[in-house]
């Protein structure tokens, strides 16, 4: 399954080990891992809410568009929801293509669209209170280059 939305942790190393290894037409694999940062040093946990049903559909459409534009041999998106602790893996994408430029561009395209077009919302729970993470203009602008 190229798209997985799950509450359970995933193992980035294992996912990378098993990705894009078949055949010899793949010359380049790019994998991206997003982790929970703790900038303030007081983050207790992150909670990720999503829109079941729409989430899978939206990511599937983004992954299909990337595969079409860059002729990918393989693509993978894993995104967690629920409660996460600092340092934990939030999500990953991986792309497999003949050449490195396609693999890099497709992975960045996936990330840019997942950021702003997949229905996830992050809330940071710190020692002194909780706050929803705000979308930033840069992330919206990042879509313009595609």
């Amino acid at each position: 399954m190229p798209v997985r939305v799950q509450a359970e942790p995933f193992d980035f190393g294992k996912e990378c080990a098993g990705f894009g290894q078949g055949g010899s037409s793949t010359g380049a694999v790019v994998a991206f891992l997003g982790r929970v940062r703790d900038d303030s040093g007081s983050l207790v946990r992150m909670e990720i809410e999503h829109y079941p049903g729409m989430t899978e559909k939206a990511i599937g459409a983004i992954a299909a568009e990337a595969s079409r534009r860059w002729c990918l041999n393989d693509v993978l998106v894993v995104h967690r929801h629920g409660k996460l602790t600092p340092g934990e893996a939030i999500m990953m994408v991986a792309t497999a293509a003949r050449h490195r430029v396609a693999a890099f561009e497709a992975a960045e395209f996936l990330m840019d669209y997942l950021k702003s077009r997949a229905p996830f919302w992050k809330k940071e729970i710190a020692a002194d209170g909780a706050a929803w993470v705000s979308a930033i203009a840069e992330d919206e602008q990042a879509l313009d280059r595609w």
Partner: protein, 82 residues
């Protein structure tokens, strides 16, 4: 009858994740006006629609979009995944 879903701080302000709404609203904007007129918590959630996004039957849409044939409307802030 239409299912209306709320996520993130929209859900928190309105105080529920989902409700069935009896409406004759022709567009999303009409539905927002109806909900806003109901109670303060709706007015608080919809105070600035430029800060909100809407999905119709799980596809992103505009506030001017027609509701005809739509079974599920969802309101939420800009997404912050990835």
């Amino acid at each position: 009858m239409i299912d209306v879903l709320y996520f993130a701080w929209v859900r928190e302000r309105i105080g529920l994740p989902k409700e069935r709404v009896e409406t004759n609203a022709l567009t999303v904007a009409d539905l927002v006006a109806e909900l806003t007129a109901r109670e303060d918590r709706y007015a608080a959630a919809f105070a600035d629609v430029s800060a909100l996004r809407v999905a119709l039957d799980q596809e992103l849409a505009d506030f001017s979009a027609p509701l005809k044939g739509i079974r599920e409307v969802a309101f939420f802030p800009p997404m912050t995944g990835g």
